[in-house]
Symmetry: C2
Subunit: 574 residues, 2 copies
Amino acid sequence: NISSELLASSHRKMRVLDCRPESKQVTEHVVDATGKDFEGFLQDVSKTFSVAEKETFVLTTTDRRVIDDHIFDELDDEITLQLLRTADQELPAATQEHISYVPHYYTLVQSGMYEYYASEGQKSLPYAFAELVDNSLSATANKEGLRNIDIRLLFDESQGKHAVVVRDNGCGMTSKQLNNWAVYRLSKFNRDNSTFHSDHSGYVRPAPVPRSLNSDISFFGVGGKQAVFYIGESARIITKPASSPDVHEFVMSKEDFERKEKNKEDIYCGVIRNRKPGDHAHIVAEEELYLQALIAEEEGKESFTAVVITGIQSDHITYLKQQFHLWTRELAHIYHYYVHGIHGNDVRQSSKNIERESDVDIQISLVEKSGKQPRLVNLRDIDNDMQTLYINSSSASFEFRAQAQGDAVVEGLIRYHPFLYDRETYPQDPYASPGAPDEEDDESLVLNPEGRGKRPVFECFWNGRLIPYTTVSEFEWCACSKKAGAVPAECYNRMSGVLFTNDCFPVSTNKLTFMDLELQLRDRETIFTRVINGQDQRVKIQREFTAWLKECHERYDKQIKFMGFQGVTSRLDV
Amino acid sequence: NISSELLASSHRKMRVLDCRPESKQVTEHVVDATGKDFEGFLQDVSKTFSVAEKETFVLTTTDRRVIDDHIFDELDDEITLQLLRTADQELPAATQEHISYVPHYYTLVQSGMYEYYASEGQKSLPYAFAELVDNSLSATANKEGLRNIDIRLLFDESQGKHAVVVRDNGCGMTSKQLNNWAVYRLSKFNRDNSTFHSDHSGYVRPAPVPRSLNSDISFFGVGGKQAVFYIGESARIITKPASSPDVHEFVMSKEDFERKEKNKEDIYCGVIRNRKPGDHAHIVAEEELYLQALIAEEEGKESFTAVVITGIQSDHITYLKQQFHLWTRELAHIYHYYVHGIHGNDVRQSSKNIERESDVDIQISLVEKSGKQPRLVNLRDIDNDMQTLYINSSSASFEFRAQAQGDAVVEGLIRYHPFLYDRETYPQDPYASPGAPDEEDDESLVLNPEGRGKRPVFECFWNGRLIPYTTVSEFEWCACSKKAGAVPAECYNRMSGVLFTNDCFPVSTNKLTFMDLELQLRDRETIFTRVINGQDQRVKIQREFTAWLKECHERYDKQIKFMGFQGVTSRLDV
Ligand SMILES: Nc1ncnc2c1ncn2[C@@H]1O[C@H](COP(=O)(O)OP(=O)(O)OP(=O)(O)O)[C@@H](O)[C@H]1O
Ligand SMILES: Nc1ncnc2c1ncn2[C@@H]1O[C@H](COP(=O)(O)OP(=O)(O)OP(=O)(O)O)[C@@H](O)[C@H]1O
Ligand SMILES: [Mg+2]
Ligand SMILES: [Mg+2]
């Protein structure tokens, strides 16, 4: 595909089909049009198809547009034309036209635009960031030692244009893998990771681990691309695999795509730069100063990946700055169990330090003006995400497992938030809309006067990662029913819960919802068992649960009842 | 890209970069490998780069894989290789490698898979069909006379394999437009509809019409493709534009893609067949008999489009047969106002026939065994979709308009469902889950003992088409509050409502949710005005609304109160 201006001078061939009424079969010839004007081309066509001297004919596109000398100049190389008696005659036989239908570059550039939708308010950005963190978790899965994931907001204008960097010390990518990164919808399931046909390397599902915290959080081959183009307009991937001394670098940008389209170049052709670590000779522009510093950090690192996003929408920048505590808290929520380990952020237990702590270290920094101290937060230190609030206000938990079809496994737990003296301890989301964030009271638990109320019981995690828009209200065996009479109804409002699924339960491409988790769990074939100390108990779950809830009520609920009023006594000892 | 078996014999060139430590600048040469073995190729490389006789060197891929004679045979044409002193030496200068990253064909084939998710139960299929109906509505927008949209389920095995056909008498497509149909993410906003640069034809937004029923229901350039590959594995588009005597036909199938990938052919190359109407010479297979009948219908039609889907998932077939009334009812819901006109399906008014009826005719037929009578339903005749139930159980309505930023306009209305004698008349969805469909009582209105209860007030339509997963609970001015004291609280439970937006309010790519409708409407800048007889009223909407609701209560609620029991009287007159 070359632009029409060029065509006049350059090589141009046309595929002409003889469709005149008398032809029983369509004959086809490629007629060279290079350097010819329409008159000359017509003469060649006449000769090629032996058109009689006096015979009238027309040339049309397959849309039956009649070619004249004006239109002739605009015709693309390799276009299919029809030789006809008249422009509206019937085709004597069917013809074939070769077309190309490569997806438009909006497939990448607009992919995230209508995906991380904000049906729950202003939260779309953390979910876009989560796609990049997902990738970094996958990449660091086999890392020995700390798994560092660094989100940096470089908003210091003296260092160049605004940039967002997500950087990890994971396995990095070879140039072939970096090429694969860029291919939309190429995923672990359908890609060939081997450089050569002779080294086979198909995807192997990781072995089951508790809470499905297997770091295998990729599925569709779209997440990274959707995320970068939701956040900004250009992505630079800088990566080094342990297997090679070279750093590989690739840039994909909306601007490049637009340029290639305009010049009728191949849209999906690009260049990977291979270079030695620390070599920033190619970064010269003033507005890319921050890249030099980033590249300088490469030296001595065995493997890493950095995704550098620029062209960031200005309202994203405002949000990221002004709502810093909100979106970092949301990330802490999404990765709660990766960051804190399988028991979550139990502040009350942490001093005892029984369990090995998690080796996932996710740090976020916001760099603004040169003088100003950067704002820094480690997800580990965030203690007001909902899971932290649930864990630390509960006094007991009930573990269970659901076995659905095939390998589909769900681990679940229900926590009990007792009534203490004069109040429910079921925590309220301090930032829940509506009612607008009341930002004074960041630290303390906000309590919910009616307990859970109508809120669903379960938040749901897929391979250990929160799927934010899917909640599960409750199951039959843990719902308040007339049969369950032994326990007061309000106790059922004192439960929160978590479901941990593996990836046998499909999620939507944007990882915001499960496809049919609740439906699948409600299936009659699904078997629920109680789990005690990691062991499945072969017992009736409803009976077990009701007994547990009853015990929770009797043991943990402390209700003050005023009985038999005796008059007012002044206490002098307080 | 040609397979390695072929390469040995066919043309093969490699791009070799001299990266030996002493080279200050990387020199590059294309070395021909056609017909050479590795030894011969190495000799050529040595010669080309003047490698000294005794000098040791290696050739590697950019992944630093050392080439040996085994791997050499597997190398693709045009691969980039590096000439190095040792496999692990540093690169003296950066190199560039050309890559291609055309989206994987799953972009099309899997596009709908995780999009029409079933978070509300088993309803995903009607939403996939809706994408095809959307396209047919757009295509018939300027049609004079009846706009026929025909959905045919051809499940009669004696006529070939199972097929789903969506057919319309719309404008059809030229071969260029058919080519464009196939291009993922090419939409009215970014495509060039003209065959030539000289005829400009950018998208023009249609003029405002009541209820935004403008038939302009396309946006992303993905709907049709997502839908056909969600429903089945192969799509044949057969279309004829009025401007041409030819029919154009194009097939896109998963199987084709797989074959092309296997043979390393260009994935997105295909063939359009141009032929005269009625010509089914190319349909010879027994399993495609039904196509002959379909093609025979073409004769005499000025323009049309048929989308023929095969390779239909067997559980889809089961669902389409067994839940016929359910999914057709859902379609009737989605297109309620297109099918019935701006006032909807007012059964009580229809005899009066004041308004011009809609000219949209959507018919669904299910053909099973040869003997069996086909099952037929016209969406116009479905009278138990929720909008029909709301309209026919209401006794008054309150119209309003919301003006948000720019051209964003919402028309809205609230209906009043009075309390009559001994019951609320607010209708209940007879098929709402859970509680399982109770199919006895198809025809009659099922009533809701607590009225609306906690249900949101508004269903939302985008360019006249239902966006099923977004509802809007209520606005401040129509919510029950202490200030509104004049009207009993239960009256607020007797309202249902509809919002009609234009496409200034973005929806998600799968058209299942609005991005931020509620958020945008809650914006302080949004101005609500009451509308009476199409005229905006400059009045305080809350006061107007409360007065209207009060009037509804006083006029339409008929509560029987038993006061002063007088004993039992036997009536002899009934
Ligand atoms: N930080 C990283 N380190 C190493 N490899 C990465 C990194 N990020 C992405 N990749 C590679 O690029 C591929 C594409 O990433 P992308 O997020 O676009 O899709 P995906 O993770 O495969 O699937 P999903 O759509 O579920 O995110 C990944 O599968 C992985 O192989
Ligand atoms: N039945 C039809 N008749 C005529 N043209 C059609 C028909 N169906 C599709 N097209 C053309 O093909 C294009 C692609 O359709 P497709 O549904 O894939 O995307 P879209 O309608 O443009 O956008 P959306 O993603 O919102 O559906 C349409 O824009 C339209 O030009
Ligand atoms: Mg990913
Ligand atoms: Mg469409």
